[in-house]
């Protein structure tokens, strides 16, 4: 076998082509998340509150239909349903249902927008509400969101989303007073 150094030199030219893999970042993550499209996932949520002796847990299903329909069906302990369509939130509880304008509750609006923006890969919207900071790798990323708006920052210290590639595993919301909510997402049972 003849050793041909020029062959290796030629390979050097390929190096720049491998750089995109190394520059995986927020833009790519957003594209990956957006690729998910409509989705139904099972979730469990655990709230650690200073006021309570034990954590509060709920579980149920999350459904997303691009571009702006979001539904959270709580299976237990009590059956409840929250639907966001556009700028309106419909709350259905065993006591009855009522509609709420998202704009009336800035922290809520910011939270839901962050969720929707993540799922649709809308980086501009995300940046309007948060300062995003991405760590880790494509296979194990961790997106920390610090609220920009004073109204939300008064309630929420940070939101940390972790996942791999285009799927979200965990959303942790840390409240200003230290109370913490952790939501774990898994693929739905079907």
């Amino acid at each position: 076998m003849r050793h041909n150094p020029r062959r290796w030199l030629w390979l050097l030219l390929l190096l720049p082509a491998t750089v995109p893999a190394a520059s995986w970042g927020l833009d790519q993550l957003m594209r990956d998340l957006a690729a998910g499209g409509a989705a139904v996932v099972h979730y469990t949520e655990e709230k650690q509150l200073a006021a309570l002796d034990i954590p509060l847990t709920t579980h149920g299903e999350l459904r997303f239909v691009p571009p702006d329909f979001l539904e959270r069906t709580v299976a237990g302990p009590a059956a409840e349903r929250y639907q966001v369509r556009g700028n309106e939130l419909l709350i259905e509880t065993p006591e009855g249902s009522h509609a709420v304008r998202l704009g009336d509750y800035p922290p809520l609006q910011a939270f839901i927008e962050s969720f929707r923006a993540s799922l649709t890969g809308d980086l501009d919207t995300l940046r309007r509400f948060y300062r995003p900071d991405l760590e880790g790798s494509e296979a194990h990323w961790r997106l920390t969101l610090i609220p920009r708006l004073a109204e939300m920052a008064a309630h929420v210290k940070q939101v940390v989303i972790t996942g791999d590639h285009g799927s979200i595993h965990r959303i942790e919301t840390v409240a200003r007073d230290g109370d913490t909510t952790v939501m774990r997402l898994g693929t739905s049972g079907d």
């Binding site: 200073a50 309570l52 002796d53 302990p77 939130l89 309007r128 109204e151």
Partner: protein, 775 residues
């Protein structure tokens, strides 16, 4: 000897003018409130209400809209503006939908929630209710949307603060975009700013407005526009417009009159002298009116100046009748009886305005009468001394001495025909007081848009409650809560606001205190119901402390909350005037006024009840007009009597009265044909026309030779020319009021001139020898 005679009157004149000038400039504030020109209805609470609304803190609220950019930029501008305005410390409340209450205000309310909560009542802290409340809190904590603020969980597990805050939400709040108020179409970000002072004082309003604009200019980045409105702001704007108009009109009118006088007499000295009675009249009128009424209304001033502007006719009569052979003083003595009769009859006409139900009109009448008398006195006692002995204007006099002298029966016949035409098609009255507003239509439209966007209550629909004490007024208001909520449910009204929404009566507060369980009982109940719930032990200690404190807290009264967020909120809705308390229930989106009137006609106790201000004002205007017409009839009778005394000739009185009656009826017929809606200002203008017309007709009917008649024709020609020019200019004004006056008077004086000329008696004697005129 000769020099000493003119000196004394001149010195007295100088002293009076100097004193008057000082009072006019230093002691006479300019008032611009339009309601002075609305009748004071003695038989209705509406005027009183109007007065209170006018003085009330409602006028401190500025409605602000920001437009002309993307929603995001508008929202940011709204936040920045609210923050900066708040930081100036000049505003008691700046609301844009984002956190309507400051932290401090929220804390104030939080500590008093057990006296204020509309949800509280007997049994509210029964074990089952308590358990239910706690379970609800737990559910809310579990929910992804925590509407219940968990900051207050430990202090307020039953959610009373939320109930209090719900009452604090605007009656119909605008929608939020990007966390701040927006108009329904999203084109405008909306704010409300309530200034700490102002309200009544237009100067402070102007300052406040300037401040808002300056702050906005400071945050302005990308071509956004700001619209500011509100009752107080509009008052300030009216003031600016009136001042601008008065200045503009005065300059234009002065120039035109100066040119006419200069052209007529070709003498700079006479031009200067012609202004002396006018200046004297204005100084006297402003200072006397200012002293009598503690200030002068902008419209009374603007209109008064023009009414008194007719004073320039007096020196004109003097100048035109000067003869080279005569000095100024003999000339004046020659025409004085006629001039005096003209002044006295005109002044008698203006007495019709005095003592009416409109304070503004009384002011105007006083202004006009004072001005005319001062001008006449100045022309009689001061002016002749200043005209050089040999002075004679180089004018050729009017055309030949003859005039048609139409026979009295012909004139009477014409009048009958005109009256028939008038009766066949009488002119319509203008019943909408807004038609009198000096503000241009687009400003009023902008105010209406902002008001609608913000859901600000329409102040024209109210229920007024009068009581001897604040407590009684609040109790009476509370009694209306149920019926009003029912009406809102069925859509008869969109919403309502009242002081009792924010501050319950002492009776209710005491009842609430009695319904609170004592500390030991509540603690044991709480311990019981917490069984099986995950709340930490002792979490609700602050709750127990707050309830215990509320049981013995002093109840809140309008006096005790004066400077708090609560006091500021209820001040426009509950106030004391002359020992009586008034509570206002403002209604928005009224569908069926008649039903409300029937339902709440007698809810107010005594003079209170449902009021549709717009309707009330229209009714009062109608009532006022009838009274004014009565007064005019009396004024006409008085004028006829004075004429009879002065002229001592039935035929002479008939000729004078007929020429004026002809001019007036012709004017009304024309107004009717042009579909002009008549206001009280047209009536006042007609009074002016009567005054001027009397003057013309009296001079035309003066016995005298053909050559004297020529001089008279010249005098009246100059008078008509200047008056028609001045009022023609006024007719071009942007102020509806001035426009109406200008057009009416300009037409009227020309008509008076024509009819007086036609109706005048033929000249007496011959033009030569002139000895008949000499004594």
């Amino acid at each position: 000897m000769r020099a000493s005679r003119p000196l004394l009157p001149s010195l007295i004149w100088l002293a009076l003018v100097a004193g008057g000038l000082w009072i006019a400039l230093v002691r006479t504030p300019l008032i611009t409130d339009l309601s002075l020109f609305l009748p004071q209805g003695a038989d209705s609470g509406a005027q009183q209400l109007l007065d209170e609304l006018r003085k009330g803190p409602g006028n401190r609220v500025a409605l602000i809209g920001i437009e002309g950019g993307p929603a995001q930029a508008l929202a940011e501008a709204s936040r920045a503006l609210a923050k900066r305005l708040h930081a100036t410390g000049r505003f008691t409340r700046v609301a844009n939908g984002a956190g309507v209450l400051s932290d401090e205000d929220t804390r104030w309310l939080l500590t008093r929630r057990y006296l204020l909560s509309p949800a509280l009542g007997p049994g509210h802290f029964a074990p089952d209710k308590l358990r239910e409340a706690l379970e609800n809190r737990l559910r809310e904590l579990r929910a992804p949307v925590s509407l219940f603020d968990k900051r207050w969980l430990a202090r307020d597990p039953t959610g009373e603060m939320l109930a209090v805050l719900r009452a604090w939400r605007p009656v119909t709040s605008p929608g939020l975009r990007h966390g701040v108020w927006f108009s329904a179409d999203g084109a405008r970000a909306l704010l409300l700013a309530e200034s700490r002072d102002g309200g009544l004082d237009p100067q402070q309003q102007s300052r406040m407005l300037a401040e808002v604009r300056q702050v906005f200019a400071g945050i302005q980045t990308s071509g956004l526009r700001m619209v500011v409105s509100g009752a107080g702001v509009l008052a300030a704007q009216s003031r600016t417009i009136i001042r601008h108009e008065v200045t503009r009109m005065s300059i234009a009118a002065s120039l035109v009159v100066a040119l006419i006088v200069l052209w007529a007499y070709r003498s700079a000295l006479l031009l200067l002298l012609s202004a002396v009675p006018l200046v004297t009249a204005l100084v006297a009128a402003v200072s006397v009116t200012g002293l009598l009424f503690d200030g002068i209304h902008g419209i009374a001033l603007a209109f008064g100046i023009t009414l008194v502007g007719v004073a320039i006719d007096y020196p004109i009569h003097l100048f035109s009748h000067l003869k080279a052979s005569d000095g100024a003083l003999p000339t004046l003595r020659r025409i004085w009886p006629t001039l005096r009769l003209g002044v006295v009859t005109s002044a008698a006409g203006y007495t019709a305005m005095l003592g009416g139900d409109l304070p503004g009109l009384t002011e105007l009448g006083t202004f006009a009468i004072t001005g005319l008398l001062a001008a006449a006195a100045c022309t009689r006692y001061v002016l002749p001394h200043w005209i050089p002995a040999a002075m004679s204007p180089r004018h050729r006099g009017g055309p030949g001495g003859g005039n048609p002298s139409a026979p009295v029966p012909v004139l009477a016949g014409t009048l009958v025909l005109l009256v028939i035409a008038l009766l066949a098609r009488p002119p319509q009255w203008q019943d909408d007081p807004a038609a009198l507003s000096p503000l241009p239509g687009d400003v009023i439209a902008a105010d209406r848009t902002l008001r609608r966007d913000l859901g600000a209550p329409d102040v024209s629909h109210l229920i007024a409650i009068h009581a001897d004490s604040a407590e009684q007024a609040l109790r009476d208001s509370e009694a209306l809560l149920g019926p009003l909520q029912k009406l809102r449910k069925v859509g008869a009204i969109q919403g309502f606001d009242m002081a009792a929404r924010y501050l319950p009566s002492q009776a209710r507060q005491r009842a609430l205190q009695r319904s609170l369980p004592d500390a030991a009982l509540l603690a044991s109940r709480l311990h019981e119901v917490l069984e099986g719930l995950p709340f930490k032990t002792d979490l609700f200690k602050p709750f127990l402390e707050d309830v215990a404190a509320a049981r013995t807290a002093p109840v809140l009264t309008p006096e005790s909350v004066t400077n708090s967020v609560l006091g500021l909120r209820i001040a426009p809705l509950l106030f004391q005037r002359e020992g009586r308390w008034t509570a206002l229930v403002t209604l928005s989106g009224v569908r069926d006024g008649a039903a409300l009137a029937a339902r709440f006609a007698h809810s107010g106790g005594g003079s209170g009840g449902y009021v549709d201000l717009k309707q009330e004002i229209a009714a009062m205007l109608g009532h006022f007009r009838d009274r004014t017409l009565d007064r005019l009839a009396w004024g006409a009778a008085l004028i006829a009597v004075l004429l009879g005394l002065g002229l001592r000739s039935v035929r002479g009185v008939l000729r004078v009265l007929l020429s004026i009656a002809l001019a007036l009826t012709l004017e009304l017929v024309v107004a009717s044909l042009l579909d002009l809606r008549l206001t009280i200002f047209h009536l006042v203008s007609l009074l002016l026309v009567v005054g001027v017309g009397l003057d013309y007709s009296l001079f035309f009917n003066r016995p005298g030779s053909g050559s004297e008649r020529r001089r008279t024709l010249h005098a009246i020609g100059v008078c008509v020319g200047s008056t028609a020019a001045v009022f023609g200019i006024l007719g071009l004004s942007e102020l509806p009021v001035l426009k109406a006056i200008g057009q009416t008077v300009a037409f009227g004086v020309v008509a008076c001139f024509g009819f007086s000329y036609l109706a005048a008696a033929p000249p007496t004697g011959t033009s030569w020898p002139a000895s008949t005129e000499r004594r």
